[in-house]
């Protein structure tokens, strides 16, 4: 029943053999050396400074949602960088390998990447950017912000939260190791049936792809359950549904999508595994399999997934615009309804990814109309943001610039999406780089919102602001890169350039490809600007310290507690009276009223179990990829046994006494008093035009 394996297999090592290590590859071998040296340096530094216990106690075993969120974001940024390098490689290959006279090196006829290697690069790029960069970044922000915004001390299930993080980390590790041990999939990030079948893809690439995704799906489902339960169960007293901050609503909508759609992906992948490991015939071309079943199952998850990632980004924009327009969000209720509508409709449109399947005019029309329906709630959101800014007191700091950039990209991406939703147009441009440009516009909305949020919430988490000059420099470089890369890409799409070309046959396209290469160089500069930004900000952090309400104009609960947020979030949970509770308290001059009296609070203990289970899931994924059966069994058994042991032990948690709490709080207040709040802005309501209120600055000098 088990399939025949091409190549060797041994009981001890499975398919693993020395020949799988690409030590002769002129790109990977030096990279491997660099990675090893880098790792040795980092590990050496940690040892030198004696930070291992600190790392283990404070980070690796933590169940604190803020630290877990920070680690999610670090994973996301590292993978964003890896994905960016992949993108750089793709662009460089395409600008190089144009026309029959283009040169070739490293064993490639044209350019510097062989078709097989090029395929791996773009497949990894897509998977990484969507699932290992965008998703962890957004999950990280939801992790940090949602519990504080609903006025809770932690997530509903802190231990599960840690588990989700470490499973995601295991997935990241799995895709990273595929660089140096074996190959990665080369058939695109969403794969095609039947090319991923054993017969056509005999290597381990598809297996790496499959298990990486499977782990991610698991981690994301766990995270989604946690966030949903946190929002439903952990809201502070007085926070009714109508007072929920809009980012929380967005997270709710987003995770409803995650919870319901990821199982479809898990099944699709499991069925691929059945085909590849057990010789089943779900997606084979003969023997009664059905090729398009795979495509349908994948996109039944795939389209909701794109809304899963964009909704939190919408939520972030909905926090940034009001803060820097000094006005409440315009149309709160419509915003909530729009998020929910998007979540619902996202389920009804998956077929627009393969109109060319040829399902017939009625099916295609139905899905076309359903797809265009998404434009309505999306348009509602765009108008709401615009009206939020209308007659507001706008502050164009870096966070606001990123949010406005996101708004522009949303317009471009949304309108090109509408074009693609028309089957007649879609038949022309499907699988062209026009599609690639469309979804990059969309995914860049997320990247822009994330960078805006990094700037916006950084002071909350770390207690000091990031440097404005370098943040703006980075923004403008990044935006220049975006224009230079994606405008020519839209044009090339119209000219008929198909996606994923390892060799570009039409020399007339060269100028456009040149501009795109220039764009990627500018992007590289923005990456450098980001590094400088971090360096400068950390260097000058003493100057940029902030109090609880870092921007002076924010509106929701997270700005009520100290910056950096203490590990218990709120010494006494706030009682919520209004929708924008902090703005309301500030307007009435009661934002500095402290609780009179502190009670004991109960906190969860740290645990090493989560990271160990995470490591074991990595081992499991690796063993499955290489078909090392004994190791699979060992890892699986170890996971089950650990879970049972943990369930026997439970977590009694620990108590912080009221007195201790009071001492910590007083110290935090003292620290905050030292930070001179020289520019405090107090918005007051002015004239009202169509519900769009204008604000004037209080004369702070009086």
């Amino acid at each position: 029943m088990l399939v025949d394996l091409p190549g060797g297999w041994s009981p001890l090592l499975g398919r693993l053999a020395w020949s799988q290590i690409p030590y002769a590859n002129p790109i990977l071998a030096p990279l491997f050396v660099a990675v090893v040296i880098g790792a040795i340096i980092i590990l050496g530094l940690i040892t030198y400074y004696g930070k291992w216990t600190y790392l283990w106690k404070e980070w690796l075993t933590t169940v604190d949602h803020k630290k877990l969120g920070v680690m999610y974001i670090i994973i996301g940024l590292v993978m964003l960088f890896r994905g960016f390098i992949d993108g750089l490689m793709i662009r460089t290959q395409q600008v190089w390998a144009v026309g029959p006279h283009s040169s070739g090196v490293f064993g490639s006829l044209h350019g510097y990447l062989t078709p097989f290697h090029f395929g791996q690069v773009y497949s990894a790029h897509g998977l990484i950017m969507i699932l290992l960069a965008a998703t962890p970044l957004l999950v990280g922000f939801m992790n940090i912000i949602v519990p504080i915004q609903v006025g809770a001390r932690d997530m509903a299930y802190p231990y599960l939260n840690a588990l989700g993080l470490w499973i995601t980390a295991a997935a990241a590790a799995l895709i990273m190791i595929s660089l140096f041990v074996g190959d990665f999939a080369h058939n695109g990030w969403f794969e095609y049936a039947p090319i991923f079948e054993m017969q056509y893809s005999p290597g381990v690439g598809v297996d790496y792809w499959m298990w990486t995704l499977q782990l991610l799906a698991l981690g994301t489902t766990l995270g989604g359950i946690n966030i949903l339960a946190t929002i439903i169960k952990m809201r502070a007293p007085g926070m009714t549904w109508g007072k929920l901050p809009i980012f929380v609503w967005a997270s709710l909508a987003s995770n409803v999508i995650a919870l319901t759609s990821f199982p479809a992906l898990q099944v699709a992948l499991a069925l691929v595994a059945a085909d590849r490991y057990l010789g089943a015939h779900f997606f084979t071309a003969g023997m009664g399999g059905n090729l398009m079943l795979y495509t349908n199952l994948f996109w039944i998850w795939g389209h909701p997934e794109v809304y899963f990632v964009i909704l939190p980004a919408f939520g972030m924009m909905s926090e940034i615009f009001p803060t820097f327009s000094e006005k409440p969000l315009f149309g709160y209720m419509t915003m909530v309804l729009a998020s929910m509508a998007i979540a619902g409709v996202s389920w009804l449109v998956w077929l627009h990814h393969f109109f060319t399947m040829g399902a017939g005019p009625y099916v295609n029309t139905a899905f076309s109309v359903a797809t265009m329906l998404v434009g309505i709630p999306t348009g509602v959101k765009v108008f709401n943001w615009a009206f939020t800014m209308y007659r507001g007191r706008l502050t164009f700091n870096a966070a606001m610039l990123w949010a406005i950039g996101a708004l522009f990209l949303l317009l471009v991406g949304g309108l090109t999406g509408m074009m693609l939703a028309i089957p007649a147009i879609n038949y022309m441009v499907h699988n062209s780089v026009f599609v690639v440009a469309h979804f990059h516009s969309m995914l860049l909305v997320i990247v822009y919102a994330v960078f805006g949020s990094v700037l916006y919430w950084f002071p909350k988490v770390f207690g000091f602001k990031l440097d404005e000059f370098w943040a703006k420099t980075m923004f403008w470089l990044f935006s220049a890169g975006t224009v230079l890369v994606f405008v020519p890409m839209y044009m090339l799409g119209f000219m008929g350039m198909t996606r994923r070309l390892e060799y570009v046959f039409n020399t007339a396209w060269q100028p456009y490809l040149d501009v795109m290469e220039l764009g990627i160089v500018v992007y590289t500069l923005s990456v450098l600007a980001f590094i400088v930004l971090l360096y400068v900000s950390v260097r000058d952090h003493a100057k940029n310290r902030v109090g609880a309400d870092a921007w002076g104009t924010s509106r929701s609960l997270e700005w009520l507690t100290h910056s950096p947020v203490p590990f218990y979030n709120f010494a006494v949970l706030p009682h919520v009276n209004e929708r924008d509770e902090l703005a309301w308290r500030r307007e009435h001059g009661i934002d500095h009223v402290r609780p009179e009296h502190y009670d004991d609070i109960h906190m969860p203990n740290n645990t090493g179990v989560a990271i160990i289970i995470g490591a074991l899931t990595f081992v499991l994924g690796f063993a499955l990829t290489w078909r090392i059966w004994w190791l699979c069994i060992v890892a699986l058994l170890a996971i089950i046994v650990l879970m049972i042991i943990r369930s026997f032990r439970g977590d009694p948690g620990y108590i912080i006494t009221g007195a201790e709490l009071q001492r910590m709080e007083e110290e935090a207040y003292r620290r905050e008093a030292q930070i001179a709040d020289s520019h405090h802005i107090h918005p007051v309501s002015g004239g009202v035009v169509g519900n769009a209120m204008a604000y004037q600055r209080n004369d702070s000098s009086k």
């Binding site: 085909d275 009682h575 609780p595 369930s647 519900n691």
Partner: protein, 211 residues
């Protein structure tokens, strides 16, 4: 819409949660588990969809079809075993209401034994098919048949392990907030698997038998 239209008097407003409501651990747990079960339900829904797509005549590629080997009475025995198991679990939970530890453990044990009966019948069935040369590699249709039924059986298998763990926990720890919460979530799990079995029985076995 805006805070200036506020109805709360800021001078008298309550700003901090003074009478702390400690949130209810059991209901938070069961909610989370319910959400997980939703995703489990979606998992089966997807598998059923795949089965629907792969249960045409041509999906069996001229090979064996369920109509040729399904014995409705045999599977009906499985149904009875599983439902009795759920019933026994229900009696156990009833004993929990009366803080009756031995009653609970007896109910759980009965549920366990009946679950094992279900699983043994399933394994016997599968090995019988295997001996006839019918496996999931026979055709696309058989792949869908096997995977759907065996994913359900795997759920039952893990449920059985969980029942054993819970028996041990109740024996060693008694009825704590944690164990009671887990007994409730396990009950939800066990019931859902029985409900899904109804669908498996009707749409895979009975439907397969008559078509």
């Amino acid at each position: 819409m805006s805070s200036h239209a506020s109805t709360v008097d800021p001078k008298k407003a309550e700003l901090w949660d003074t009478h702390h409501h400690s949130h209810d651990v059991i209901s938070t747990r069961t909610l989370g588990y319910f959400l997980y079960l939703l995703s489990d339900g979606m998992l089966f829904a997807t598998l059923f969809a795949a089965y629907g797509v792969l249960s045409y005549q041509h999906s069996y590629f001229g090979g064996p079809t369920p109509a040729e080997f399904v014995k409705p009475w045999y599977t009906f025995a499985q149904t009875i075993a599983l439902f009795l198991s759920v019933l026994a679990y229900g009696f156990g939970m009833n004993a929990l209401k009366h803080k009756n530890k031995s009653g609970l453990i007896n109910g759980m044990l009965a549920a366990f034994v009946l679950g094992v009966v279900f699983l043994v019948l399933d394994i016997h069935d599968m090995s019988h098919l295997y001996s006839m040369g019918i496996t999931l590699a026979s055709s696309g249709g058989m792949s869908a048949f096997m995977v759907l039924t065996q994913v359900h059986a795997t759920h039952i298998f893990f449920g059985l392990i969980w029942i054993l763990v819970m028996i041990a926990q109740v024996m060693t720890k008694g009825f704590t907030e944690e164990t009671v919460g887990r007994l409730l979530t396990l009950r939800m799990f066990w019931h859902l698997q029985a409900v899904i079995w109804v669908f498996v029985y009707i749409f895979v076995y009975l439907w397969g038998y008559i078509s």
